[in-house]
Symmetry: C2
Subunit: 258 residues, 2 copies
């Protein structure tokens, strides 16, 4: 399944304005302005002037919040987005409610305390962002993220992403998905209905999952990518014309990359 | 969401020929002919002459198998269907591969050995069948069963059914569904897409779940019914016209019956 561009000219527009360039411009701009985000519950609030707001919109970080301020646009960043800008791109400082700068480890601990799966989710988010995919919430489709080849105004999302952990044996894992066939059938059927490919990012902790979480440990996690597609036996038979009924099976295509 | 009848006259046809009557006729017919099913892996094979085959088809038990036999039609019954005819309706004897008659407890143990969740699934299946719902596999929709008000030729299935067990704490349960929000979102979105209501049958073992399985224990299980629907905040606001975007939340409507 290739990208589904929205209208004519979208593909050319995307090619002429690569996401890597936009994110790089955002990185420079935030670094220069010494941008500070305010940690607030499960999100980070960031005020931006016109040019920076434009870059945030074009690179799809955060959602805009309506305020009375005229010269600043406010953005609400998810924890993954904020930590990516802070830790991976090193262009966003984050302060707590007392306006005190938080360091990397403090932030990681805070975010994990708000969302148990945060280290895995962050690893998955940054994995896709570093490959220049635009990554947004997948809540509408019952998955963790959706991934776009470029800005959602130009193209439909191509992948529905579930984040699993290979060390999540049995009940331990917070993200208990794809453990039964009915869940796999449900998810692949929904994905095919909304023309997306189900991408499973399996975070392997390589034995660094036990004990207190730390950035040095999460650095050692690796990610394995799998796509899962429905397999309809009827479509693979020779006598296409004869068969009408539909069955539901899955084939798992493995595409393991680190 | 009410029943969606297939074409004109279907509703009248269904009303004139209630499912309870068809199943009752099937029960008499199988009893009189002393029908025997052959246990074979995860299903039971049953040969039926014309009139009985017609009743099996009309009451939706089993799927037909093509054979060279002219005077008998063969049906492949699922374990739940076979056990329902054998144990609840007392109209089907079941023999093993050596043509030896199996008793109730032997059958239950055998079926549980093939499918860990069988006692819960059987309880759910018989719960719906006893209320005269036609119950079939939900594999196409990523659920355990689908329930029809009458024969699928007359009406679309109304409920997508998931069978859970209230004692399934953590990893223990084989049917690990609806444990995370993403799974709930995925399932309710798919259900609304295929115009079905998600019905959760929660099997409570009332403390009789530990130790060896037996029919006297499963008799003590009770079933709680819940329907789960998506809740779209936009549809509940006063200014319907103003809002276009879609969000995904769930509301759980509890309708507990034993």
């Amino acid at each position: 399944m290739g990208p589904r561009w929205k209208g004519k000219g979208s593909e050319a527009k995307a090619l002429g304005d690569p996401m890597s360039k936009i994110v790089s411009q955002l990185q420079s701009s935030l670094s220069q302005s010494e941008a500070q985000g305010l940690l607030c519950g499960c999100s980070v609030l960031l005020g931006a002037k016109a040019q920076e707001a434009d870059l945030l919109n074009r690179s799809c970080f955060g959602v805009t919040i309506t305020t009375a301020e005229k010269d600043r646009q406010w953005f609400q960043l998810s924890m993954e987005e904020a930590f990516y800008l802070h830790y991976s791109l090193k262009c966003l400082k984050i302060v707590d409610e007392d306006r005190r700068l938080m360091n990397d480890e403090e932030l990681l601990l805070y975010m994990k305390s708000k969302k148990e799966t945060f280290p895995d989710f962050y690893k998955a988010y940054s994995h896709l962002r570093m490959k220049n995919w635009v990554v947004m919430s997948g809540v509408r489709y019952g998955v963790d993220f959706v991934a776009y080849r470029h800005h959602p105004a130009l193209v439909h999302s191509e992948f529905a992403v579930l984040v699993l952990s290979s060390e999540e044996e049995g009940c331990g894992g917070a993200n208990a998905r794809l453990r039964t066939w009915s869940d796999i059938h449900c998810t692949t059927r929904l994905c095919s209905g909304v023309v997306k490919t189900l991408l499973v990012l399996n975070v392997s902790r390589n034995g660094h999952g036990d004990g207190a979480i730390s950035l040095s440990r999460t650095e050692k996690y690796t990610i394995y990518e799998y796509t899962i597609k429905r397999w309809l036996p009827e479509r693979c038979r020779e006598d296409h014309g004869l068969v009408k009924s539909e069955s539901s099976s899955c084939t798992i295509a493995e595409d393991g990359t680190k």
